[in-house]
């Protein structure tokens, strides 16, 4: 019989390999010279030719630029709306319609994308039919659709962060003479800033990554990067997508590792300071 420690370690190693080996294989094959993705051309590899092919592919670059713009606007709008929603749910106490708002903000978290995509498109078609707006579909419609599902994630993140803080902090500020708007900007906002930042990143990633909803609400003229990738890979493997994937993994890994190290340093400093305070007593 396996000891418990060994069992846990095995579970982790197997599980993490399952998560990482596919990504690793993509990275490896992005340096493969052969067009046949699966055959390693040892003679001429590693090569950077797929990376240069990628960077000279105007179609992909345009799509990437559109995706970045949509993701940035989506993330910013989601953060504003999601923060307000999170604040309302966590701090405004009971009000009529609170349960509905709570429901509406959590539903998109699990809603199948095809349903969200279809319903958004039908709304835009009906709106265009009725009032002539939105005139055609593209950047604006994709962004609206993305904000709608991203704001739920931001709401949950902000709401949980607020729930971890005592209401009395805001009450204390009121008690010391700060008006509600001032309380929000000098107390609440600084406290939830980490949640707002991670909410922004989350919304950016979700928007950047979305293919199904975009496919519904994008017009024929607008293609986001995932839409381009999707139509490419539906036809089978293509090595330049491997290169693209590798770049994205590298960027993300760099960001996540840096931010984690940074957060950990902050945390460690905080712990140290707390220990010192305890040692000092008083």
């Amino acid at each position: 019989m396996m000891s418990r420690g060994r069992f846990r370690k095995t579970a982790l190693v197997v599980g993490l390999s399952f998560l990482y080996l596919p990504i690793l294989s993509m990275i490896v094959f992005s340096f493969n010279n052969s067009r046949l993705v699966t055959v390693w051309d040892a003679a001429h590899s590693p090569t950077l030719k797929w990376y240069s092919a990628l960077l000279s592919n105007g179609h992909i670059l345009d799509a990437a630029w559109l995706s970045i713009r949509i993701a940035a606007v989506t993330a910013t709008l989601s953060v504003v709306l999601g923060t307000v929603a999170g604040l309302v749910l966590a701090r405004f106490g009971p009000f009529r319609g609170r349960a509905l708002l709570a429901g509406l903000t959590t539903a998109p978290l699990v809603m199948p994308e095809v349903i969200t995509g279809l319903s958004m498109l039908l709304l835009f078609v009906a709106l265009e039919h009725a009032i002539g707006w939105p005139d055609g579909r593209g950047f604006v419609t994709i962004t609206i659709a993305h904000v709608t599902f991203c704001l739920s994630y931001v709401t949950v993140v902000v709401q949980s962060r607020l729930a971890g803080f005592d209401d009395s902090l805001e009450e204390a500020a009121l008690d010391l003479g700060a008006r509600p708007a001032r309380v929000f900007f000098s107390i609440t906002l600084p406290l939830i800033l980490p949640a707002i930042i991670s909410g922004w990143l989350l919304a950016f990633t979700l928007s950047w990554d979305d293919v199904v909803i975009s496919q519904f609400v994008a017009g024929p003229s607008a293609s986001t990067l995932p839409m381009v990738i999707f139509s490419k890979v539906r036809l089978g493997v293509s090595p330049d997508v491997n290169a693209l994937a590798s770049i994205m993994v590298a960027v993300v890994a760099l960001c996540v590792v840096c931010s984690t190290l940074w957060m950990r340093r902050l945390e460690r400093r905080r712990q140290l300071e707390e220990q010192m305070a305890r040692a000092a007593g008083g």
Partner: protein
């Protein structure tokens, strides 16, 4: 309006309503209203026009009266054609099996992370979350290369001598399971972890003190206490998996589609918006219960954070 006046408004009861109203208005306009439209269209008939459906209310030919056309035909069509029933059943099966596999892989991992030393715990969590930040689409695509007949998996198996001939892995149910489990595993692990991490370890010591062996203690203490985490993780995998579109499109069979693909095909290929809407409504109604259960869990989690 002076700035002071604006401040006054924002501070008062009126301002409170404005603040509540902003996210409310957005969600009503872009989440609730779209569903009502889908609901409405699911009762109309196809037309060769733009938009390609008949209005529910239209003027009679003489122009004197309004006529409501309330057409149940689309729903009848879904029931009558065995294709749709089979598709629904297949989607639920795929989602359910994938969920169970996720649980089987995710539980031990979540457990191992929750019991790891605190310093390694954060690193492990980061490793679980990291793939989530990279493109979902590209991670599914990675499996196309792995599962092909001359793909990495087959090559390795051939080289080791486990098989003589390449297995057909891609475009099978197996590939879909792999794809879903692979993409959704973090969603299983995270709620499980956040539950398991909160367990009071002295409970296990108490159980051991009272004579329970480790396995008994796990089955009688840890497992029952982790049920909320299991439920949340399973719902977080199951609900989106039922409507999954990308994974079966890239990895799945072409003779048996999942419901998300059928919906999209009805819409884009057949341009039958009413039937697509009816499919969406049926799917939504079917998922309503799990969604409500998930919401209850989610709200309780947030309340619990209040302490």
């Amino acid at each position: 309006m002076t700035l002071a006046r604006l401040k006054e408004i924002l501070a008062g009861e009126y301002g409170r309503r404005v603040v509540i109203g902003v996210p409310y208005a957005w969600l009503l306009a872009f989440f609730v209203v779209p569903f009502l439209i889908v609901f409405k269209i699911s009762f109309s008939e196809v037309r060769f026009s733009m938009p390609p459906y008949a209005p529910l209310f239209e003027l009679t030919e003489d122009g004197a009266h309004w006529r409501a056309i309330f057409n149940l035909g689309n729903y009848h069509y879904l029931i009558a054609d065995s294709l749709y029933i089979a598709t629904f059943a297949y989607s639920i099966k795929v989602a359910a099996v994938s969920t169970l596999i996720c649980l089987a892989i995710g539980y031990p991992m979540a457990y191992a992370i929750a019991r790891a030393r605190e310093s390694t715990r954060n690193l492990l969590l980061m490793l679980i979350v990291l793939p989530f930040w990279t493109s979902f689409l590209l991670r599914v695509y990675a499996w196309v290369g792995l599962l092909q007949n001359d793909g990495v998996v087959n090559n390795v198996l051939l080289a080791v001598g486990l098989i003589d001939q390449p297995l057909t892995l891609l475009y099978t149910d197996f590939a879909v399971y792999v794809g879903i489990v692979y993409s959704y595993l973090p969603f299983m692990i995270l709620p499980l972890y956040s539950n398991l991490e909160k367990h009071d370890l002295t409970l296990l010591e108490a159980a051991a003190d009272l004579g329970a062996r480790p396995m008994t203690a796990f089955l009688r203490i840890t497992l029952p206490l982790s049920i909320p985490g299991i439920v949340a993780g399973c719902l977080l995998v199951f609900i989106p998996a039922v409507g999954e579109y990308v994974i079966p499109s890239l990895l799945g069979r072409s003779d048996q589609l999942m419901i998300g693909r059928v919906l999209s095909d009805e819409f884009f290929a057949n341009r039958d918006w009413p039937v697509a809407s009816a499919v969406a409504i049926v799917l939504l109604v079917g998922l309503l219960l799990p969604i409500l259960v998930f919401q209850r869990y989610q709200n309780r989690e947030i309340e619990a954070a209040r302490r």
